[in-house]
């Protein structure tokens, strides 16, 4: 037994890799669609959009790239869908260069359900702008000067939806799809606490715990954390997407990691005697 445990402790990592691969692939191939409930931060996000009067202008900053796409792309689609279905107007922008085409594609997919929506009237893409926080504060005084043209090169003054949009006072809500830095933290610090805009965030699970203080303090109206947050949001909208599809795989892989930690520790403490470790107390 002891020998087995010792061997287990020295297990080749490639064996572990195979386990993880299967724990993701099998549930995707044979889904059971376990049900789940919706948590408060996601409801807050959903309600913030629901409560707006139709026709409100909503700024959506899509700050992510392919590195966090599985978590954020479904959110991005769901947000656009939700906004357009409620008759709101979407002004989108990006602060991450390598994600511009993803945001555009999300809109293209959503527009399949809304063929009547017109570019420039119902939605506009202001495109990417360099400068991170500087862009944010710059928009606080003057959006048209920060974004003189949209992503297609049209002058902002000539775009109907942008009429009367000078700064954050002229948008009803700010939604941020955030893959890291610059992202939700920067929007909170530079824009929310400075201009008092209502701000909702969809972010990667990695950064979600960091944003809980902002929900409690009221700096964020809602939060979608990772693929699970996206799945809950999809459920609220009644429009299943890839996030909900991935939930079984998420469950199984978490159980596998749980078992790994458990078995690893059993093996470690069973053969612990020979290892001497450092003894420093805080």
């Amino acid at each position: 037994m002891r020998k087995f445990l010792e061997k287990l402790e020295r297990l080749d990592r490639r064996v572990i890799f195979i386990f993880i691969g299967f724990s993701i692939a099998l549930p995707l191939l044979f889904p059971v669609y376990t049900d789940f409930s919706v948590t408060a931060p996601v409801e807050g996000f959903y309600n913030a959009i629901e409560e707006l009067p139709p026709g409100s202008k909503v700024l959506v900053s899509c700050d992510y790239d392919p590195g966090s796409m599985p978590e954020l792309f479904p959110m991005n689609i769901a947000v656009f869908h939700h906004l357009l279905s409620r008759g709101h107007k979407v002004i989108m922008m990006q602060l991450w260069a390598t994600g511009t085409l993803l945001a555009e594609r999300a809109m293209t997919e959503v527009l399949e359900d809304f063929p009547e929506k017109i570019y420039g009237e119902d939605w506009v893409n202001l495109g990417f702008k360099e400068g991170r926080e500087v862009v944010m504060v710059s928009m606080g005084t003057n959006i048209p000067k920060t974004f003189p043209t949209d992503s297609r090169g049209t002058k902002v003054e000539e775009i109907p939806i942008m009429q009367g949009v000078t700064n954050f006072d002229d948008v009803a809500l700010l939604m941020n799809v955030s893959g890291g830095l610059p992202g939700t933290k920067e929007w909170v610090l530079q824009v929310q606490s400075r201009y008092g805009v209502k701000l909702g965030s969809g972010c990667t699970a990695v950064s979600a715990p960091e944003f809980y203080p902002y929900i409690q303090s009221g700096q964020l109206v809602g939060l979608l954390g990772g693929m699970k947050g996206a799945a809950e949001y999809e459920k609220l909208l009644g429009r299943p997407g890839t996030a909900q599809r991935g939930m079984d795989a998420q469950s199984v892989s978490h159980i596998v990691v749980f078992l790994f930690i458990f078995i690893g520790n059993v093996a470690y403490f069973a053969v612990k005697g020979k290892k001497k470790r450092l003894q420093v107390s805080r």
Partner: protein, 206 residues
Amino acid sequence: MWETIGIWFGAFLTLCIFSFLYKDNPFYKLAEHLFVGISAGYWATLEYHNVFRPNLWDPLTREGRLLLIVPFIFGLLLFSRFTKKYSWLSRWPMALIIGIYAGITIVGYGSGDLILQIHANLLPLWTDNWLTSLNNILLTVGVITGLIYFFFSKEHKGALGAGAKVGIWFLMISFGASFGYTVMSRMSLLIGRVYFLLGTWLHLLE
């Protein structure tokens, strides 16, 4: 047609990267360098189309906003670091950027992460609801003891030591939550790739 070729190409590159799991190999290296090159090229192209043209070149040449020459020159000065003699000039634009970020940091962190966080943490310790009271007490104790742990001007002995000890418990719980969420995040990323390989590429998912 191009779409199909694209999907196969994407699948090939995906497998190239995954081959690193077996060990470092030429396919992985190829894919990695391709990635760095393409994203740098992508970035440069976007800077041209989305910043250089609309924010600098067009207003300068078409609207006669001559003042924009200043940032233009500052931007060009950055490249002086490639020369030996004039490299000191590149400090000017660097100083500008660093100064701006310093100013932004002070205001942003001061308001959003300090004052508003303090405001949000001033909570009544006893209320009609026992759970709310408990939560408020935990929040107050947790933040104060957490700060004690990061207090370096006194030895952590006596009451201060006890406070720091409680503080580290809260920090550890907070790290545990981050660990759980990080596992969640990473698994989601793999789900995305497996979804691509099994669904988009091999059409095995309905």
